[in-house]
Amino acid sequence: MLVTVAQALINGLLIGGIYALVSIGVTLIFGVVKVVNFAQGEIVMAGMYTSYFCATLLGIDPLVSLLISMPALFIVGVCLQHFLIRRVLKLGDMPQIFLTFALSLLLTNVALLLFKADYRTIQTSYSDTAIHIGPVYIAVAKLIAFGVAMLLSALLWVFLRTTDLGKAMRASAQNPEVSMLMGINPDLVFAVAVGLALALAGAAGSLLMPFYPAYPMVGQVFILMAFVAVVLGTLGNVTGALIASLMMGVAESLGIQFVGADSGLIVVFVMFLVTLIIRPNGLFGGKRR
């Protein structure tokens, strides 16, 4: 029994790391640009395909191709902000949500046109291996993914805390008008924020590739969980999203173990709704709106 629980906790934390990369991106965009990006899951998909083709065409290990997928999607993010999101910033929630929703539909179907619906996997030396510690085990590919996810989250935190651009980003998030009076160009800050968010999603894709199949609809698997984590951890709060994602990974895993394999999501959603009854602004929201 103890072993089972320990294993369930490990499994939950490991997948929570992946949820974190997706949800941190969503929360970063919301925090700075105030737009909920429904297409974030499709960016993960793009990251997966990038790594897939790097591996199959160029023989690059998916973990190394992180160095390609992240900058590539950073640029995509900058363009996305500049050409699309910027145009709907003043229009309110609904056009924004549906613009990103349309974008997610577009990306899915373009992927379908380009790559067909085939499930694509790559086999690395560490794909199916695990470290066994007594009766419990840790899958190597997932451990690496978790480690890199935590490292990237930490780097983002350091960036936001210590660099001028990071501080400017936080300032813009808290008060965009006054930050302009400080000489901060919101277009630049917003573009960097969206770029970083997409780079993180791209990283999630690359990290998933050694153990998860890529296909055009794969983004759907992660996006709902990411949204719940983002809200639970208080929209716009990067640390909150990280902690909430790990919590949800664990809750899902325990739910599957002790309530039923068809109830992992029910447990997560109930936890989510109960939390919102107690704290309408999420776990880390305090009293502010």
Partner: protein, 335 residues
Amino acid sequence: MSGKFSRKTLWLSVLFALMLLLPQFVTSRFYMDIVIRVLLFSFIGVAWNLMGGYAKQLSLGHAAYFGLGAYTSTMLQINYGISPWIGMIAGGGVAMLASLPIGALCFRLRGPYFTISTIAMAQVLMLLFLKFRDFAWGAEGTTIPNLGDAPWMMQFEEKAAYFYIALALLVVGLVVTWAVERSWMGYYLVALGEDEDAAQAIGVNVPKMKRHIYLISTFLTALAGTFYIQYIYFIDPPTAFSFNISVEAALVSIVGGIGTLWGPVVGTVLLEVTSTLLQSWLGGGHGGVQLTVYSLILMAVILWRPAGLLGLITDVYHRIFGNKQQSEQEAALDG
């Protein structure tokens, strides 16, 4: 402005008469099917728009009520042989009852918090219907027994009958919206939609307003659920609680023009017709083309006409029939 009013009435009467006669002209089952779906989704959009458009509560969980309506009537029909006509009203009642606790929870939240909580609610309902297999056929779902031509059981050989039901639903939805728009409730809703705190401050009972409009909106949505299942002959949780229904309801309103009487109708005509025609031209064989084009059209509309296409249509209408000043006034009212 009485001249304008009478002209509008005239146009509406002509339109309505044409609609009544439509089955005489359209004999193709395919085109009839498009028309029926346009009417149905317009109705769903109109129901959503009451809450999403006027009170600006962006719910993406209306599939919950669509599904509850659908399941209520189907279970009454198959388990007890009760007519879907009665089941439809019962479904509406169940949806209204369910909206009370769900509303009590979700309305505590605002903005994206509210939206995502509504998605979660609809998902939980779907997962529960999947989980409790003995309650209502579980994941396997069930087909509606084929009774041939049985009007009392809402089954018809001819598409025209489905057309008239869908048309009647839409008319009900529009009349309700029209009545709400013109009542004190309409003003309060718009006020709270613009700024909740300010509305509360000037004495609008915001929670009560939200609760009331939610009751109306969910009741209508549930009616659509019953009709839909009778029309496609099949029910299972992913169909009845489909996220697509929630999205479509909001989408048609946004594309047409939210918080306007005719917005959802205009939006549905554009989106449903486009998607069906794209499907029949491009579908089959070349996976993804039709939805790619569809999403591009969607993005173009949102970027080009964020307030919805209805404004554009009234503009054009007044450019042809009226003077420019009038059209500006109209646009201001609609925007």
